[in-house]
Point group: C2
Chain length 137, copies 2
Amino acid sequence: MDTNFPDLRQFGGAEAFLRVCKPRVVLEMFTSKWTALVMGALLDGPRRFSELRRALDGITQKMLSQTLRTLERDGLVTRTVFPTVPPRVDYELTALGRSATGILEAIGAWAGEHADAVIAARTTYDARAAEPPRPVT
Amino acid sequence: MDTNFPDLRQFGGAEAFLRVCKPRVVLEMFTSKWTALVMGALLDGPRRFSELRRALDGITQKMLSQTLRTLERDGLVTRTVFPTVPPRVDYELTALGRSATGILEAIGAWAGEHADAVIAARTTYDARAAEPPRPVT
DNA sequence: CCGCATCCTCTTTGATACTG
DNA sequence: CAGTATCAAAGAGGATGCGG
């Protein structure tokens, strides 16, 4: 193979490399428990906070708020406040945000093809681990 | 838009949905800090434990061991023990593991195009958050 | 209605030391 | 060489109550 995997020592070790690794920045965008789900709920257009809360039945206010703030900070979602009373806040995917959903679709596609194999592998592995200690022959 | 985002209530809430959501299974495969890096280090072929430890300069024995065990459990990596002394253990990507690196490449590609935009958005957001309190004008 | 602040728990990661 | 065991630290996630 010819993969050009970098020698991490030139970055001062893997730890240092991770701090400047762009793919990792992206990876971390989606690793939060709710990020993908919130973006999914925004695919059809702008949504209010309470609409999202209802759509993601089970998410706490705190996590929804926190997730939306992170998405906003990363430029994936816009937050629009209407100065009405009671207050109304709309969230909407930006162009950047919509382009990022392509990654989620890629993951979904791979999951459709291979997730069962992963789950099966786990089952096999766990069964093996639970076996009685080796007989001495 | 026509995105078919599911109504999560039929699953008993988002939390319940997440437990059976295959894309999430895949997402969680890569959420560990070292997973992607270890797989990257295996792209060029089989590697011994100590080779990986050197390649990922900075990883602890424990985390390398743990990461490899998870990868093995998920069927992404094989572990081959040679009954020599001193012991020697080789790790190698399976076909499933190699196919999964496609996801990492997709993430890398998106990162190449958009990571700077994300980082810039963060900088802007953080600068705005650090501004002095609004003048009343 | 929107969302922040507090407190608490669980998981992940890391440092260190020991074994076949 | 290739791990496991143990302990401590850090961060994510969640429950609840208050404020604009």
